[in-house]
């Protein structure tokens, strides 16, 4: 009994405890600047490259919509997980969140995308839905018709001899419209992401 009394007296007469008792306040409700918040537009013009939509892991979180004459990405707060991949993936720096843009500039880091098309020959029926639905195909070949008539061979894929052949894989933008239009789920797009660093002047502090 006597020992615990002495312990309590020693505890409550520490200078730190007295200072906290008289002057401590609870922390103000501010979010620090280095915390990753919901991405916000910086004011730069969006070029409709759509890399933010390709990188986003959460379904239905980001979409690029019309804003006057141009485009702007719009974030749905109930879906966005604040990961910051869209901020890093954008080649024009249209979005900002926390300190991501500053660290990208200081370290020279960026994300590199590449897209690969793979068609399962056992499942493919040669219907040509994918080639007709692809928006890049429509841009290349203005005469693209519902029957799959192609006027040139610059398109990404087309039906040749009853099979869909991939001609220019490098032009694919990874939108996966072909995947949603395929009736047998034969075509699959792989979005390959690589995190790289090209330090411009020195590296690290």
């Amino acid at each position: 009994m006597g020992q615990s009394l002495i312990w309590y007296l020693k505890e409550f007469s520490r200078l730190e405890w007295i200072h906290k008792f008289l002057f401590a306040k609870t922390a103000p409700l501010v979010t620090p600047s280095y915390s990753r918040g919901f991405p916000e537009p910086t004011g730069k013009a969006c070029q409709h490259a759509l890399f933010c939509m390709m990188a986003c892991p959460a379904p239905g979180a980001i979409e690029v919509v019309h804003a006057g004459d141009g485009w702007i990405p719009r974030i749905h707060k109930g879906h966005c997980i604040r990961c910051g991949l869209c901020v890093e993936a954008c080649p024009n720096g249209v979005l900002k969140s926390g300190r991501i843009l500053e660290t990208m500039e200081r370290d020279g880091t960026s994300l590199l995308f590449s897209f690969r098309i793979s068609i399962d020959p056992d499942l493919c029926t040669g219907c040509g839905n994918c080639a007709t639905a692809c928006p890049v195909n429509k841009q290349i070949d203005a005469q693209l018709g519902a029957g799959g008539h192609f006027s040139n061979d610059e398109v990404i894929m087309r039906v040749l001899d009853g099979d869909v052949r991939v001609l220019h894989e490098e032009k694919c933008t990874g939108c996966k419209t072909c995947e949603t239009s395929c009736p047998t789920r034969a075509i699959q797009i792989a979005r390959i992401l690589e995190g790289i660093q090209q330090p411009s002047q020195g590296s690290g502090p």
């Binding site: 990188a55 892991p57 991501i100 200081r106 792989a190 390959i192 992401l193 995190g195 660093q197 502090p205």
Partner: protein
């Protein structure tokens, strides 16, 4: 001999001490517990099914959200498994930064486990002290990675952002303050007579029982089994890591092992900051095809990912073995049997640090 059961006591899904819904049905004879049955299934989301066929940039976030308390280690084990499949090597500075993030996460997980235990013993004061210490750790984690929980800090080939000189000095001084506070709180826990009355000699898990139930992590290390997956990790071996363990196998030993591990994490972070090499933080690298099994040391024990990937680095097959699967089994079948009072059932269960979200992803 027929076993007579007087009453079945259900500790239901909604309970003041359990943070997650789990149903524990204890069979009691008088006040002595002679059997326990666990009913899970309130948190099954099917994460492994969602992961199939997706590339690493989506699976990484799903893997983090298997458990929000130990999210950094899930991220680290998944990314290191993908790097082992694809043969990607990590630059040394990134490896040390990964260790710093991992140890900060381990500290906050152990502090919240000890807070749960103190709250269950009704020692709210000490619990609130530990939560206050945990807030300092979360501050440092936010400064390093940008988010408090589910940081998404590691990617194949390195980490996402670097630590600046001011932040590194801030971390070094904050860690000193944390060590001072931790020594005070651990002393308060180990010297308190009421805490000793409720923790010493309760919930015994002998070494043979721990091996029989395959217990891992601090639960096993408090029974004298000094196994730790960090011994197999090259960066930790370079830092000279030695696991801590205690020979007495009760609740008290489990909580003290966690306090010791927090002190050990502080010294590891200090060593990392002093030896931090310069260089790049991302080495690049694309995920390829292959199959592997990779283990890491989560705050609760050994975490294993069995991954098979297809030719573009998408996941073809994945299975996650979390430490809480083994620990909850050890708890319900070995520790709770023979506990002398119903009030000790909750404290024994919480001292094994169950993470039900990990158990049923």
């Amino acid at each position: 001999m027929k076993r007579t059961v007087d009453v079945n006591i259900p500790l239901g899904p909604i309970h003041p001490c359990f943070k997650e819904p789990v149903r524990l049905k204890c069979e009691a004879k008088g006040e002595r517990i002679i059997g326990a049955e666990l009913e899970l299934g309130y948190m099954k989301k099917g994460i492994e099914r969602i992961m199939k066929g997706r590339p690493w940039q989506e699976v990484m976030f799903l893997a983090e959200r298997v458990c929000g308390i130990c999210s950094v280690i899930h991220n680290m084990v998944f990314i290191e498994a993908m790097e082992q499949i694809s043969g990607i090597s990590v630059p040394p500075r990134a490896a040390y930064l990964r260790v710093i993030a991992n140890e900060l996460d381990r500290m906050q997980s152990h502090l919240i486990a000890n807070f749960s235990y103190c709250y269950t013993i009704e020692h709210e004061t000490l619990g609130m002290y530990l939560l206050d210490l945990r807030e300092q750790v979360m501050d440092e984690l936010e400064r390093l990675t940008g988010a408090r929980v589910t940081c998404a800090y590691m990617i194949p080939g390195g980490v996402r952002c670097d630590i600046s000189r001011e932040d590194a000095e801030h971390l070094l001084s904050a860690v000193d303050r944390m060590e001072q506070d931790l020594r005070r709180y651990a002393g308060m826990f180990s010297d308190g007579p009421m805490i000793a009355l409720r923790s010493r000699g309760i919930g015994i898990l002998t070494q043979e029982a721990a091996q029989r139930a395959h217990a891992v992590g601090p639960t096993a290390r408090a029974s004298g089994i000094a196994l730790d997956c960090r011994l197999n990790h090259p960066t930790y071996r370079k830092l000279g890591f030695v696991p801590v363990s205690r020979p007495d196998c009760d609740n008290f030993a489990r909580i003290m092992v966690r306090f010791d591990e927090v002190a050990q994490s502080i010294s590891i972070i200090r060593k990392c900051l002093q030896d931090l090499p310069t260089g790049i933080i991302r080495g690049g690298g694309v995920c390829k095809e292959g199959e592997t099994r990779y283990s890491g040391e989560a705050p609760r024990g050994e975490l294993t990912y069995f991954i098979r990937s297809d030719e573009y680095g998408r996941i073809a097959d994945i299975q996650i073995q979390t430490p809480s699967i083994m620990n909850i089994e050890a708890c319900c079948h070995e520790m709770i049997i023979g506990v002398d009072s119903v009030a000790d059932v909750t404290s024994t269960f919480i001292s094994a640090d169950p993470c039900v979200a990990c158990t049923e992803r």
